[in-house]
């Protein structure tokens, strides 16, 4: 390019020569075609096609699905992360996140360990209908609940309840493989002795590894049970681990356990930077939450209009994403607890109640965006998806 005016600028003509020199040695970057997609596809694929290769019966109420990649490649993950499994049940497309319970160094398959939820829409399907050979879609591994060597320290206490053991199992296996210099105390609450997931495996791991201590706590013990029982209170934790100072606490389990333990730890002066939590779904009883509008009943039926697409009726007390899915609308999603923000949608008119656990950006609130997985339509609304 020659621009006569610019030749007035000192160094302009030289720069043109330099540019020609660069061009002579340069590339048109076609050799990089597909590079971004390939790199990201190996680390953070949006979707995985998985095949069930084995169904392992863990307890009466729990099974592990062993999943391999249909295409042969599984991306790496950090112990504690989950995948969101997509399913079609009775014509409804939905999904649920499940933590990977296998080691991150097991690169041939992911295990997801699923406990039956009474009246659960998806867990019952996965436990009763899914068998070896079936294929499922999922997201890539996601989530922020994992051991972070930058600041988690070396004294780790994991409070697990029910299927909350799944990420703990993966973290334990990761510590073993990486020979991480940590102590790990697992305090694992189960309903009864028959309900302890990975009972045998944990016993063996505990015997083989000095860093690991496992304490089982049974909430509904039989007559002849002599171990720890009741709820995981700080009294019990202190009795087991001594001072609560300088320890990192991990919480994963049903929401009643989470609510209880979190309050217990905070009341004992454990700062929030020392507590990592993995939430478990949207609140089942939103009307009991702080900020719920007075006088609004969760069983009330309202209308949801999806701009340009249609309209359906929904129950106030049900997370918006569930009624959307039941009515044939798909919204991208992964965590279904309000954290990941993938199901972000805009409320054009009417109000939704956002569960306090929803991690909504400041300006998203300001401009009317919510996370469909943890938003409850408290009146007729119109949304943009």
């Amino acid at each position: 390019m020659s621009d006569d005016v610019l030749s007035v600028i000192e160094g302009y003509d030289q720069a043109l020569l330099d540019k020609a020199k660069l061009a002579a040695k340069g590339t048109d970057f076609t050799e990089r075609k597909g590079e971004v997609a390939a790199i990201i596809g190996h680390l953070h694929p949006k979707r995985l096609s998985l095949r069930v290769i084995k169904v392992i019966e863990e307890t009466v109420s729990t099974k592990t699905l062993r999943l391999e990649a249909v295409g042969g490649y599984l991306p790496p993950f950090q112990a504690g992360q989950y995948i969101n499994l997509f399913v079609n049940i009775e014509g409804v497309n939905t999904s649920r996140p499940y933590a990977i319970s296998s080691s991150p160094f097991e690169r041939n398959y992911y295990d997801v360990t699923i406990r039956r939820v009474i009246e659960g829409f998806v867990s019952n399907y996965l436990l009763d209908q899914v068998h070896a050979g079936m294929c499922l879609q999922s997201t890539g591994p996601m989530g922020t609940f994992y051991y972070n060597p930058i600041f988690h320290g070396d004294d780790l206490i994991f409070l697990a309840g029910g299927s909350g053991i799944a990420p703990a199992m993966s973290i334990i296996l990761d510590i073993i493989h990486q020979k991480r210099p940590v102590r790990f105390h697992l305090i694992y609450g189960s309903r009864n002795m028959d309900d302890i997931i990975f009972h045998r495996e944990l016993k063996q791991l505990e015997a083989e590894n000095d860093f690991l201590t496992v304490t089982r706590v049974i909430s509904e013990p039989s007559m002849n049970y002599s171990g720890k029982k009741g709820f995981v209170s700080t009294e019990l934790i202190s009795e087991l681990v001594g001072s609560l100072d300088d320890k990192m606490f991990y919480l994963c389990g049903p929401s009643n356990m989470y609510d209880f333990c979190l309050v217990e730890l905070k009341n004992s002066g454990v700062p929030s930077r020392k507590i990592r939590v993995e939430m478990n779904g949207a609140p089942k009883l939103p009307e009991q939450l702080e900020g719920w509008p007075v006088g609004v009943l969760s069983k009330t039926i309202i209308n949801v209009t999806v701009r340009g697409k249609g309209r359906f009726s929904a129950k106030v007390g049900e997370p918006l994403i569930n009624s959307l899915e039941r009515n044939g609308y798909f919204v991208e999603n992964a965590c279904r607890t309000g954290e990941c923000s993938l199901c972000r949608i805009k409320v054009l008119s009417g109000n939704v109640f956002n569960a306090p656990q929803a991690r909504i950006r400041f300006s998203d609130r300001q401009f009317g965006w919510c996370h469909a997985c943890s938003a409850y339509p408290v009146e007729d609304i119109e949304i943009l998806i």
Partner: protein, 506 residues
């Protein structure tokens, strides 16, 4: 009948301002975004009680309400000034070379001169001359250069633009050397080089001088709610004007007919027709991957050959359970370097070795609302080329990431001890994270290397495909202000073309 007058690919800064300008200018516009949120770089994410600003460190170009500059007017024209709150920052930056110098420059030209003279009394005269030069080169580049080019008037440039003509294209380092003897004052005045991604030797003085002068004269700003608030406001401006937006909708192909755009095909397989396409994706992605006739744009290919892939960044987002005071942070923007030699610092960007320099931004210093009471947010950043990560196997990725993060934290802790002990939430972004979210080769954050040949003085708009336009860091300067401006500017030229076309049709 086409489905849309215009389709904008990508809701980054340039895409958002282009889409809003087009729609408000009367063109029926569709904005497509592969992610679920607008902004591209201009975004945020939430962990625990913290919302992290992803990319904006200091917004330039606003000017004060009394002395407004170009971006304030641009935002006003798009109707978002009453939807976004801006916070003026009192300081440019604090520059620290541990054990050698610790200096904070206030955000005013007079203040900069006063402070520098206290530290470098022998350079007093040169300080005044240098700041004066920065001013004239900046003003001439805005006021004289475009007019002289348009009028093809050599004499105008030679006389009214004499400072630009003499210094504009010189390497910044050369001009610094001409004015100053003390290496330390050069390091202090050149601290912003990281915002351009290359050392002073490779930057033109026009870029470096204008960057410094514009921040000092028109003040750095940040945004309540982070740059995401700007992105959301711009999207709102677009939607309110009747624009249509689709998230989770990546474009797969740009379809042409007789070297003119015809339609886009989305990842879902929909074909949407249009007259005009503005791509806010990288020029490389647009022409090498999206365009259906990518082998038939020889001039574009030729232009690519004289470009070099630009830097990416490694960032640690810190949610800290302490106040800035507890940490010893006194300015929002901090540059920590172990040596005044910017070349040496820069060369580490091509490796995973211990970084020699970093930026540490903590908005809570001027704006306590940026984190819950008693807490702070900081972002710790060093520039790094994406190719460093190309040979890291996926299975080694996480541990490599942590290992480098430890090195970067060690560097920051030389000035702000015990950062680690306050961490409540942390998220680490590597150049591959940038690649994932920006879809740019090498995870480049400013487009191509912004050397002096990257300037618009040496580049023309690509015209081989009729109706295909670029708006963003890959067809102009990178960073917030330039990309916001690029979107508006390209949209306005499309609107003008459209008006001519309509008139011709009547």
């Amino acid at each position: 009948m086409k489905d849309f007058d215009a389709i904008v690919i990508g809701a980054g800064n340039g895409g958002l301002t282009a889409a809003a300008t087009l729609q408000r200018g009367g063109l029926k516009t569709l904005l497509l975004e592969r992610h679920n949120i607008p902004g591209g770089c201009a975004t945020s994410f939430v962990r625990g009680p913290y919302e992290f600003e992803v990319a904006l460190h200091q917004l330039s170009g606003m000017g004060t309400p009394d002395k407004p500059f170009i971006l304030r007017k641009l935002f006003a024209d798009l109707g978002i000034m009453d939807k976004v709150d801006f916070v003026e920052e009192p300081e440019l930056y604090r520059m620290i070379i541990p054990g050698i110098i610790d200096i904070t420059l206030p955000a005013s030209v007079v203040g900069v001169a006063r402070t520098l003279k206290q530290y470098f009394p022998k350079e007093s005269r040169a300080i005044d001359d240098f700041l004066e030069l920065c001013k004239f080169v900046t003003l001439e580049s805005i006021m004289v250069l475009p007019r002289a080019r348009k009028a093809v008037d050599k004499e105008m440039l030679r006389h009214q633009g004499k400072n630009f003509a003499k210094y504009g294209l010189k390497p910044a380092q050369q001009v610094f050397d001409e004015f100053f003897d003390d290496e330390m004052i050069k390091a202090v005045l050149g601290a912003y080089w990281g915002y351009l991604g290359l050392p002073l030797r490779e930057l033109s003085f026009a870029d470096m001088g204008a960057l410094f002068y514009a921040y000092a004269e028109f003040k750095p700003y940040h945004v309540i709610g982070g740059s995401q608030a700007l992105s959301n406001a711009l999207l709102d401006s677009f939607l309110e004007a009747g624009g249509e937006m689709r998230f989770n909708c990546a474009v797969d192909k740009i379809l042409t007919e007789s070297s003119a755009v015809r339609a886009v095909r989305t990842e879902q397989g929909d074909e949407i027709t249009c007259h005009t396409i503005v791509s806010n994706a990288s020029s490389l992605h647009t022409y090498n991957e999206l365009l259906d006739v990518s082998n038939r744009v020889e001039l574009v290919r030729e232009d690519f050959k004289s470009r070099r892939l630009g830097v990416s960044a490694f960032v640690i987002y810190l949610g800290l359970d302490c106040t800035p005071e507890q940490l010893g942070v006194t300015a929002a923007t901090n540059f920590i370097v172990l040596t005044p030699d910017d070349e040496a610092v820069f060369r580490r960007a091509e490796t995973l070795d211990e970084p020699l320099g970093c930026g540490f931004t903590c908005y809570n210093v001027d704006d306590p609302s940026f984190a819950p009471e008693g807490k702070s947010i900081a972002s710790l950043i060093c520039i790094q080329y994406g190719d460093v990560w190309k040979n890291v196997a996926p299975d080694d990725y996480v541990n490599t990431k942590y290992a480098f993060a430890e090195k970067l934290l060690d560097l920051a802790e030389t000035v702000f001890p015990n950062i680690r002990s306050y961490i409540e939430e942390v998220e680490i972004a590597t150049p591959l994270t940038m690649m994932r979210y920006l879809n740019t080769p090498g995870g480049a954050i400013y487009g191509f290397d912004q050397n002096r040949l990257d300037s618009s003085l040496f580049r023309e708009r690509y015209k081989e495909i009729d109706g295909l336009y670029l708006a963003g860091a890959w067809s102009g300067m990178g960073g917030f202000q330039p990309t916001y401006q690029a979107g508006v500017s390209v949209a306005n030229s499309i609107i003008r073309t459209q008006i001519y076309r309509d008139k011709a049709n009547v």
